[in-house]
């Protein structure tokens, strides 16, 4: 469904803040992947790279078989072999695989790598690249701070995207929206503005706003972290019923109970890499990575 290949992400003027340092993962259809990790380890950044709210500095992201980032030459040996850098290294009597390895390890490619290299890039772009706006329709996202459209009513929040993108007529979109609102028991709030809702209600609306686009996968970035404790339950319940309906989900959270109960796989992020990956039982029973042991001892 989503395939993240060796993704790097730097921030700052000169990329001096290195947040993701080579992350690879596959999210298969029907999976519910929970991402755990200490604050600042890059969980949000990884999630935001999946729908390109952040543009990765390196690596590729694929969604349902389509490339949504620029192609990354370091992932294609045959492409690297067309580069001027590679030729230069061979001329200096480097072995072929050593040269390739060194180029990747030290990220040696520069702007000028020759015509053949450029042509290959263009060919891959043309063949595999999908417009990001189309790809995003397949991925719903739920934010920590809800981000409901403040100038629109609850119902309008749900119908805006399907109608503007001409996926549904106004009537169809409203019908679907009302059905979704009924599912979260907020049909009576259809004409309220977000300012009038509680945090828990906002987040439930935010979830169904994403669902109104009928996505194939849902991304959650700490959906309950900004909520008062008594409202966490109602949001988790909506997420659980979504999981039960078979939705593919990627969830960044600090809710260990949810991770254990709902997750099919847990990834532990630490310092910009996925340090450990396991099924929930395995993950909590037999943590291997020292940082994970420390993390679990703190949160459990």
């Amino acid at each position: 469904m989503i395939s993240v290949k060796n993704v790097y992400k730097d921030f700052g003027e000169n990329g001096e803040i290195k947040v993701l340092r080579g992350v690879s993962c596959e999210i298969e259809k029907g999976e519910r992947v929970v991402i755990l990790g200490p604050s600042g380890s890059g969980k949000s950044t990884l999630l935001r790279c999946m729908n390109l709210l952040e543009q990765p500095t390196g690596g590729e992201v694929w969604v349902a078989g389509d490339l949504i980032t620029a192609p990354d030459p370091y992932l294609y040996p045959e492409w690297l072999k067309q580069s001027a850098t590679y030729e230069k290294m061979l001329r200096r009597n480097k072995k072929e695989d050593e040269a390739l390895e060194e180029i990747c390890r030290n990220r040696l490619l520069s702007k000028r790598e020759g015509r053949a290299f450029e042509n290959m890039r263009k060919a891959i772009e043309k063949e595999k690249r999908l417009d990001i706006n189309l790809a995003r329709r397949k991925m719903g996202m739920v934010f920590q701070h809800f981000n409901l459209f403040n100038n629109l009513t609850v119902l309008q929040n749900l119908t805006l995207a399907p109608v503007e993108l001409k996926l549904k007529t106004q009537e169809e979109a409203e019908e679907k929206a009302l059905e979704l609102l009924r599912r979260i028991d907020l049909e009576d709030k259809r004409d309220e503005y977000p300012a009038k809702l509680s945090g828990g209600q906002k987040q439930r609306v935010a979830i169904v706003r994403a669902l109104a686009m009928e996505p194939d996968v849902m991304l959650f970035d700490e959906p309950t972290s900004a909520l008062d404790p008594e409202m966490v339950g109602e949001v988790l319940d909506v997420m659980k019923s979504l999981a039960a309906s078979g939705m593919t989900m990627v969830v960044v959270t600090h809710e260990m109970g949810f991770a254990r109960e709902v997750g099919t796989r847990i990834m532990f992020m630490n310092e910009g890499v996925i340090a450990e990956e396991a099924t929930p039982e395995e993950f909590f029973k037999n943590p291997r990575h020292p940082r994970l042991k420390e993390f679990l001892s703190k949160v459990l």
Binding site: G140, M141, L160, A161, E164
Partner: protein, 230 residues
């Protein structure tokens, strides 16, 4: 002649009244035309400045920046003089057009800054939510960001328009017959021979215009706010 007698004379003498209304007309025409021009120009410039950096936008962005810096960094009176004595020196070019352009350009720079600040004050989460749903940046701007930005900028734009109306009084410095000039003429030796009365009356005129405008802006503001808090 005491003050109140003077005011009475002014209001009952058809010649004086005619002068005042002639001046009022010019003041209003320049203000309204310059406001319209300033709003259009300001919106365009604001949109250019908030566009993401790209090679195609480089020159427009650069021009916008210089425009805002120069206009906001120099006195309005000087801009008006330059417009009159340096740029529009063609004979018989209508001076009211020249003045309107000068004030429109000036106002546009301030409006641009207000609008830019208004758009930037909308939480980025709003844009991210729109983009994450697959909406283009254009639709997100139009349907989500700009409606919220407008609410933020109405008060500051209102202040800008008020400042503009009052500032048009400097066209009297280049001899144009606006409200302020009317006061000068009525007060001169050939007429009432007292500046106090016509100046006070004209001050009341400005006050009345500004008061009405403030009222309208408050109304608009309240109407927009009613939108999100029902």
């Amino acid at each position: 002649m005491n003050f109140f007698e003077g005011v009475y004379t002014l209001f009952t003498n058809p010649n004086y009244m005619q002068s005042l209304f002639k001046g009022l007309q010019i003041t209003l025409v320049i203000s309204v035309a310059a406001a319209v021009m300033g709003l259009l120009l300001g919106t365009v410039v604001a949109l250019i400045t908030i566009c993401p950096d790209s090679p195609a936008m480089k020159i427009p962005k650069w021009i916008s920046k210089i425009y805002i810096t120069v206009i906001r960094g120099t006195p309005m009176a000087l801009q008006l003089f330059i417009m009159f004595y340096v740029i529009f020196t063609i004979r018989d070019f209508p001076e009211i057009v020249t003045a309107t352009i000068a004030f429109g350009i000036n106002s546009g720079a301030y409006v641009a800054e207000n609008i830019r600040a208004g758009i930037l004050s909308v939480d980025v989460g709003q844009t991210e939510a729109g983009r994450a749903l697959g909406l283009t940046s254009g639709i997100t701007m139009r349907k989500v960001v700009i409606p919220q930005a407008i609410k933020n900028v109405i008060p500051t734009i209102g202040n800008e328009l008020i400042a503009l109306i009052k500032e048009t009084s400097i066209v009297s410095m280049i001899g144009m017959y606006d409200l302020t000039m009317a006061a000068k003429i009525i007060g001169s030796g050939n007429n009432m021979a007292s500046y106090l009365i016509p100046m006070s009356v004209v001050a009341l005129f400005y006050l009345a215009i500004v008061y009405m405008l403030t009222f309208v802006i408050k109304k608009i503001e309240r109407r927009l706010r009613a939108g999100d808090k029902r």
